[in-house]
């Protein structure tokens, strides 16, 4: 046995991204906006195309910035459609990302027809190559894997955001009207959560690819939700699950020599299914009997 530095780097980065995504994912789930990550993964396309034309290169920083701006724009549009146009939340997510993705495709057809340009080859990173994607300073100094810094920075910012605004996030997630009554600016909190999600997804897309990020936003919080209804415990459980699936996923991928991101997502899915099966009785009784009458009572 010998210590494999690369395996450690991959696992630790995956775990950091899993924690960032999981922390935000809990609040997104409570707001029934879990699929925003998926929406952002498609909505960034016009930003990439425009960034490409500003920088003239598929690798420029402008491309990443363009993607980030479009991500925030997409979350704003989802929120706006829900509030002002009074569309169902899932429909507003669907409208937003298909529209933005379609604009991206038209832009490619009009402007960049002859260039190989899509999120796949421009934005999405590959977690397997993370240890050799080094950060080199201008003077040629080797600072170690670039993605490690990006995801650490992301983790610090997300954790600070959640700790600082924990009360506000909690209240606005459960009861927006109540939060307004006690003087919490729900709109502002919502906007900053959305910007945080957009920043985290684009930053993590660049690190590990889309499918992993979308799954980490949704699956660990949903699995934890099967086990507990206490918010603090929910968050802790999400973090533990995120780390656990990163470790198990990596080793299974190594064992079968397959895609790391794919395997982590599969492990997460299996963990969810196992939890759901294990909890199915209480799951059914909660959703089947006690919950529905409550919501019905409210309407009556």
């Amino acid at each position: 046995m010998s210590f494999d530095q690369n395996a450690f780097l991959i696992i630790i980065t995956a775990a950091m991204i899993a924690i960032s995504c999981g922390l935000l994912g809990v609040f997104m789930m409570l707001r029934k906006m879990s699929m925003t990550g998926d929406a952002i993964s498609h909505a960034v396309l016009p930003g990439i195309v425009i960034g490409f034309f500003v920088s003239g290169s598929q690798r420029g920083l402008e491309v990443i910035i363009g993607a980030g701006i479009l991500g925030i724009l997409a979350t704003l549009m989802i929120d706006w459609l829900r509030r002002k146009a009074r569309v169902q939340l899932d429909a507003s997510i669907g409208i937003t990302f298909t529209l933005l993705f379609a604009i991206g495709i038209i832009l490619i057809n009009l402007l960049a027809y002859k260039v190989d340009l899509d999120q796949e080859c421009v934005l999405y990173g590959e977690i397997a190559y993370l240890p050799i994607d080094l950060w080199l300073t201008k003077s040629g100094l080797n600072m170690g894997p670039r993605i490690l810094y990006l995801s650490l920075l992301n983790l610090i910012l997300v954790t600070a955001f959640i700790i600082l605004f924990f009360k506000e996030l909690k209240v606005t997630s459960f009861d927006e009207n109540f939060s307004k009554v006690i003087g919490i600016p729900a709109g502002l909190i919502n906007l900053s959560l959305m910007s945080m999600v957009s920043y985290t997804t684009v930053s993590s897309f660049e690190a590990v690819g889309a499918i992993l990020v979308v799954a980490l936003l949704v699956v660990p919080p949903a699995t934890a939700f099967l086990w507990t209804r206490k918010l603090k415990l929910l968050i802790q459980l999400t973090i533990v699950l995120g780390i656990g699936i990163s470790i198990v996923g990596y080793y299974l991928a190594y064992l079968f020599d397959s895609s790391i991101a794919g395997m982590i997502v599969s492990v997460a899915g299996i963990a969810f299914l196992a939890s759901a099966l294990f909890k199915s009785k209480s799951f059914l009784s909660r959703f089947g009997t006690s919950r529905q009458p409550e919501s019905l009572k409210k309407i009556v």
């Binding site: 002859k114 080094l134 780390i243």
Partner: protein, 304 residues
């Protein structure tokens, strides 16, 4: 809970250990990106080294997803060769950084820029499919041979001998291709394929080339492209259109159906090999075999 967290982090640290592979390599290992490149390098080094391709035959480089041990392959390789010209997408960036600790060869770096096809002034708008022009590919192979000798001077006799005979075979292939394709363009035919991969082929061998789809596999054919293409086919009395090995034939089937509705019978031929070699045992398992297969399919389908 926080104790559990620390415990998990510690186990991940401990778990990041692997059993080392006890088997020792007898030969130096060369890792390359595409199957086409792998075949070329095998011809150059012969038995002197093992050549492994990251993207196996049949995989579209656009759709390549790294598997967990690809990193080990790259790090354990003695020499890494890649195609360049942004064919490897985002990985190109990573390869450039790999040059810090590995002997790395970009096989296309020496091709004069005036011979490259580009769609715009941007650095990355260059068409990477240079292997369709046998002359350009033999330049790339020549460069690879020279660099390999620089890295490992003990290979000089083997590689220069192999390179000489391989270059001769490529020159012969180039001549044979030119002969057949010139005959086609005399009969006013054009090569119509699913995506724009054959631009170098058209330029080198003098046949008009039309692709239904842009370079990016994401861009879908526009309606005007489709009607324009059908009109072109009917006017020029084109005999066949071609499917491609790594791309779904749906879009090109629409062209066939569109032509039939205009009472113009057209054959859907192929599939042609584009971004990857065929089955290693089959006819198109080598670069020369692939070009031969493509050219004879194109010739047979368009000549009648």
């Amino acid at each position: 809970m926080s104790r559990l967290l620390i415990f998990l982090l510690c186990t991940s640290l401990f778990l990041a250990c692997k059993f080392e592979n006890p088997e020792e390599r007898l030969k130096p290992q060369i890792v390359v990106t595409t199957s086409i490149l792998a075949d070329g390098i095998r011809n150059l080094v012969g038995d002197a080294a093992d050549v492994v391709a990251l993207m196996p035959a049949g995989v579209d480089p656009h759709l390549y997803k790294a598997s967990a041990r690809d990193l080990d392959l790259l790090l354990e390789a003695d020499i890494v060769l890649y195609h360049g010209l942004f064919l490897e997408g985002k990985m190109t960036e990573i390869f450039e950084k790999l040059s810090l600790r590995k002997d790395l060869i970009n096989v296309s770096e020496n091709i004069p820029t005036e011979l490259l096809l580009r769609s715009g002034p941007e650095a990355h708008s260059v068409d990477p499919h240079i292997w369709f022009d046998v002359k350009l590919w033999s330049m790339a192979m020549d460069h690879a041979a020279a660099e390999l000798i620089l890295i490992n001077p003990t290979w000089e006799t083997i590689i220069s001998a192999n390179s000489k005979s391989y270059q001769a075979q490529l020159a012969e292939l180039d001549q044979a291709t030119k002969l057949k394709i010139t005959e086609l363009s005399k009969s006013n035919q054009a090569l119509i394929t699913a995506h724009d991969a054959f631009a170098y082929f058209g330029k080198a061998y003098g046949i008009e080339v039309l692709g239904l789809q842009g370079l990016s596999t994401l861009s879908e054919p526009g309606l005007r492209d489709l009607t324009g293409l059908i009109k072109f086919i009917v006017q020029r009395d084109i005999k066949a259109v071609f499917a491609e090995q790594t791309i779904s034939p749906k879009a090109i089937q629409a062209v066939v159906a569109g032509c039939e509705s205009q009472n113009h019978q057209i054959k859907l031929a192929g599939p042609l090999y584009t971004d990857s070699l065929g089955d290693p045992e089959g006819e198109a398992g080598t670069y020369i075999g692939m070009v031969h297969t493509n050219v004879s399919v194109i010739f047979q389908s368009l000549i009648q």
